[in-house]
């Protein structure tokens, strides 16, 4: 199997889908799903392969190189997997929207370009694919149109461009210094470079990757982008696109520079990795507390995306075997459950006619049981409850932090988990529990093509939680490729000498105890089922449909922390943007279009020159 074929299918499929859409919409939908499926199948074949291929198609005398290794494969499979599920989900979700040809084309195109970034083997094509990705994401964020969507898209693209420019500077500097941009030969040559130069390159690239990863203080584009993007794309954005930043860090920190150089990058007690860790910790805490105060389903999830990124960077930046396994596993886990949660939020939107306000939903568990099951499993994974996948990766990360003697980072990470519980419960409670408002009495479960992605991802969350050995084996291969020691992995977790985790034991214990209690309760006492209005209110009658129990769920806390939790960073960016706009407006006043003014400018300028010459005689 050839790598060109993979790229060909990805890009060709996107264009073909657009063309087929001109003929018939059914044909287009079918082809889009087939194309995404083909990508998954083809990508699976590359498992364990290590290919590097030079293609005779040069640009500025720089060759175009494709390469596939375990790291690329790991990211590629998440891209194509989530891509397939989102397109499947889009079929019904997007049914009544306009511009569908454009939508399917862009979504496939983004997938193709993301695939491009992970399987290219030189920095020029990496940059090109990266730019295609950024621009097409902008197109899809602003897809809905309207002021807010355009604003969100603009916020995103400005930040993305700042990142790309930093990266471009790094790339040019690398080319000037080493005369090559092939990743594999750069990895060898850069070993001899000076420490300061490496630091400069690293910072330039990190800016790009941190922005796309939405780490604090560059997080502010993500919540807006999510709130405005269409839901199937939100799940791609949050699950895989944002994590291209993690791929970038892997590529740069571990594939090009390598552990030896990274460990040497220390100035006193401040190291590059240490700074990354603290950025991660701040991101976790800030995002968790902000998410707590949100009242919009997708904004909560967007903030959680920001926060979970912090855990990944905590694991990855420590660069130990445990931490790396935890960080890598967390990327995979996050991708699974956040996609799941966005699909759930989308299902609610689909059935309630676009309602995303948590304060006006409630009681939907009785009407949408499958969506609810998906939601609760996703939230459990997000929290990291034992027996879900999130638990294993977080366990590995905490374990690293404690072994490496960083209790404060561990504290922030744990605290973030408590924040997650609070907003996770709010998400579930406000949508599915509590009283069902009368207007949602006749709501039905979503159609099967929307249930299917939810079901598949839910099963994966649970499966990887009970048998973490399956994904950890693959992650172990990824990490050993990056030069880390191999972990001793069992089917139920980890059995290395510095830490044992056995989820199968926990699973057995909980299941057996659960069944015993269930049987006991089943046998005893009679149960009478009552409806939602038949509740105890200490003698005071609760009027029907008057109360909304979910409004201001954490109000006492909200009152306490609100003054401290302003998004100063976001306000700062907006202020900078505004003042630049004002400045530009001011400058535009000069160009009046009246020739008389221009003549006056010229004369004034000449007068200035003459004045300067007469006074100081510089020429």
């Amino acid at each position: 199997m050839n790598l060109e074929i993979l790229l060909g299918i990805a890009f060709g499929g996107a264009f073909l889908t657009y063309l087929l859409g001109k003929i018939s919409s059914k044909l287009r939908n079918g082809f889009a799903v087939l194309n995404a499926l083909a990508l998954v199948v083809v990508t699976t074949f590359f498992y364990g392969h290590n290919i590097e291929k030079l293609i005779q198609f040069s640009f500025l005398d720089l060759p175009f190189i494709l390469r596939m290794n375990m790291v690329s494969w790991f990211f590629a499979i998440t891209i194509v997997g989530i891509g397939l599920l989102s397109i499947l989900y889009s079929l019904k979700y997007m049914e009544n929207e306009k511009n569908l040809n454009y939508y399917y084309f862009t979504i496939l195109f983004i997938n193709a370009s993301m695939l491009g970034t992970v399987i290219c083997g030189d920095l020029v094509s990496f940059f090109i694919f990266w730019e295609i990705m950024s621009w097409s994401t902008y197109l899809l964020i602003s897809y809905k149109g309207g002021d807010k969507a355009l604003f969100a898209g603009m916020k995103y693209i400005i930040m993305a461009i700042i990142g790309s420019m930093a990266m471009l500077l790094g790339i040019i500097s690398l080319y000037v210094s080493f005369g090559t941009l092939e990743i594999s030969s750069l990895a060898i040559q850069i070993q001899s470079a000076s420490q300061n130069y490496i630091l400069f390159i690293l910072i330039m690239f990190s800016i790009a990757f941190i922005i796309i990863n939405a780490f604090w203080p560059f997080h502010s584009w993500l919540p807006d982008a999510h709130a405005e993007a269409v839901t199937p794309f939100s799940s791609i954005l949050s699950a895989v696109l944002v994590r291209k930043g993690m791929y970038g860090l892997y590529l740069f920190m571990y594939m090009i520079l390598g552990l030896n150089i990274l460990n040497k990058l220390k100035f006193g007690f401040i190291s590059f990795n240490g700074i990354l860790c603290w950025i991660g910790a701040i991101t976790i805490i800030f995002a968790a507390l902000t998410a707590l105060l949100q009242n919009d389903t997708k904004r909560i999830l967007a903030w959680s995306t920001v926060g979970q990124g912090g855990y990944m960077i905590l694991g990855v930046a420590f660069a130990t075997t445990f931490g790396m396994a935890g960080g890598t596993f967390h990327i995979l886990n996050h991708c699974i459950y956040i996609a799941l949660l966005f699909f759930v939020a989308g299902a609610i939107e689909y059935r309630t006619g676009g309602v995303r306000d948590l304060n006006s939903l409630g009681g939907l568990i009785k009407k949408m049981p499958i969506t609810f099951t998906g939601g609760i499993i996703g939230i459990c994974g997000l929290i990291g409850l034992p027996l879900t996948n999130g638990f294993v990766s977080k366990w590995l990360i905490y374990k690293t932090l404690i072994i490496e003697n960083h209790p404060f980072l561990a504290f922030f990470a744990f605290l973030g988990t408590w924040g997650t519980i609070l907003y996770g419960y709010k998400f579930i409670h406000n949508i599915f529990l509590g009283q069902l408002p009368g207007k949602y009495k006749d709501i039905k479960e979503v159609p099967f093509s929307m249930q299917l992605p939810i079901i598949i991802l839910s099963i994966m969350v649970i499966l990887f939680g009970i048998l973490p050995g399956i994904p950890l084996k693959m992650i172990n291969v990824v990490d050993t490729y990056l030069g880390f020691k191999s972990l001793n992995i069992t089917l139920g977790g980890i059995a290395s000498e510095s830490g044992i985790l056995n989820t199968i034991n926990i699973f057995m214990a909980i299941t057996v105890i659960f069944i015993i209690i269930w049987v006991i309760t089943k046998k005893s006492g009679k149960t009478v089922k009552v409806d939602q209005y038949d509740t105890y209110a200490a003698g005071a009658a609760i009027p029907e449909d008057k109360y909304q129990y979910t409004v201001n769920f954490y109000n006492p806390f909200y009152r306490m922390v609100k003054p401290y939790l302003k998004d100063f960073i976001d306000e700062f960016y907006i202020r900078v943007a505004l003042s630049i706009k004002n400045l530009a407006n001011g400058i535009r006043q000069i160009y009046t279009g009246d020739v008389g003014y221009y003549v006056m400018y010229i004369i004034l300028f000449l007068a200035l020159l003459i004045f300067v010459q007469l006074n100081w005689k510089p020429w």
């Binding site: 366990w395 209790p407 105890y536 006492p556 306490m560």
Partner: protein
């Protein structure tokens, strides 16, 4: 294998008995302080047996399963905490797993009570989570101090070290954490002044408002286990654990009596006051403890 299963059964049994005894004892002690005679110590057990035979109401599937899940979660936590020398699941992940498993209890109960669609339940849950969030900050600092000090995440190893060197409470770095732990213990156990979650006179028992019959029995059992877990975790980490369950029980009894005295004399905080209290002195002490451990 057989030994492990026997140990598991023994742990659950003993913990249940001790927990229910504590519940009964607390009613008796409180009554005596109020110059009443009080119910017999076995009253909670009698109540549970009675409740299992009564008719009960249900609000849906999650209402039933949430509480069962919550109880199962609490019981599994027990298996990770050493009861004397008995600790059936000691080698499955240590203190980090305990921290996470302890989430299942409140979360299961909250999900179950959430489906009841009772406004009091929603208020109670919201308070429960906020309270948990606020005592979790000092608690995490304390646990991290202990883990950093002993350089392990295994609670069995912590207990074993203490058996050789003496209680952690006696040593300088951990004394701050120990005091902080005592200060937040009433909040963890949910007794006065941190009783705002249930607040019977105010929000009619909060999350428990809709439970009746066997489900109320399950909630009571879960409460008994939670009391046991809360106190035994403290005893194991700071008071040296014990070599046999009997000795551990005596230590736990001592701690529980102190908590009861606090419970008897204090009125109820509002939730903001509770957050304010927990984030000041206990957090400061726990923080100092962690700094001291890191420096030494």
């Amino acid at each position: 294998m057989v030994v492990t299963i026997l140990e598991i059964i023994l742990t659950i049994f003993l913990a249940g008995i001790i927990g229910l005894f504590f519940l009964g004892l607390s009613r008796k002690v409180m009554a005596r302080m109020h110059w009443r005679y009080g119910p017999p110590i076995t009253q909670p057990l009698i109540d549970i047996i009675k409740l299992f035979n009564q008719t009960n109401i249900s609000h849906g599937v999650l209402f039933n399963f949430g509480i069962i899940f919550s109880l199962a979660g609490s019981i599994v936590v027990l298996l990770f905490i050493p009861l004397g020398k008995i600790c059936p699941l000691s080698s499955s992940g240590g203190l980090l797993v305990i921290l996470y498993l302890m989430l299942i209890g409140p979360l299961g109960l909250a999900l179950s009570a959430g489906e009841a669609s009772n406004p009091n339940a929603s208020i109670g849950i919201s308070r429960k989570f906020l309270l948990a969030m606020s005592y979790e900050i000092p608690l995490l600092l304390i646990l991290l101090t202990v883990m950093t000090h002993y350089k392990t995440i295994s609670i069995v190893e912590i207990v074993n070290t203490q058996l050789q060197t003496g209680w952690s409470f006696k040593y300088l770095p951990l004394i701050f954490s120990g005091i902080a732990y005592i200060l937040i213990l009433p909040a963890i156990l949910g007794v006065r002044p941190f009783e705002m979650v249930q607040a019977p006179q105010e929000i009619s028992s909060g999350p428990l408002a809709e439970y009746s019959g066997k489900y109320l029995a399950l909630v009571t059992i879960q409460h008994a286990f939670n009391v046991f877990i809360g106190i035994s975790l403290f005893t194991n980490l700071f008071l040296g654990g014990a070599e046999n369950p009997g000795y551990l029980f005596l230590k736990m009894l001592g701690v529980f009596i102190i908590i009861l005295l606090v419970n008897a004399v204090f009125p109820r905080f509002r939730i903001e006051q509770a957050i304010g209290y927990l984030w000041k002195l206990p957090t400061l002490l726990a923080f100092i403890g962690l700094i001291v451990v890191l420096v030494t």
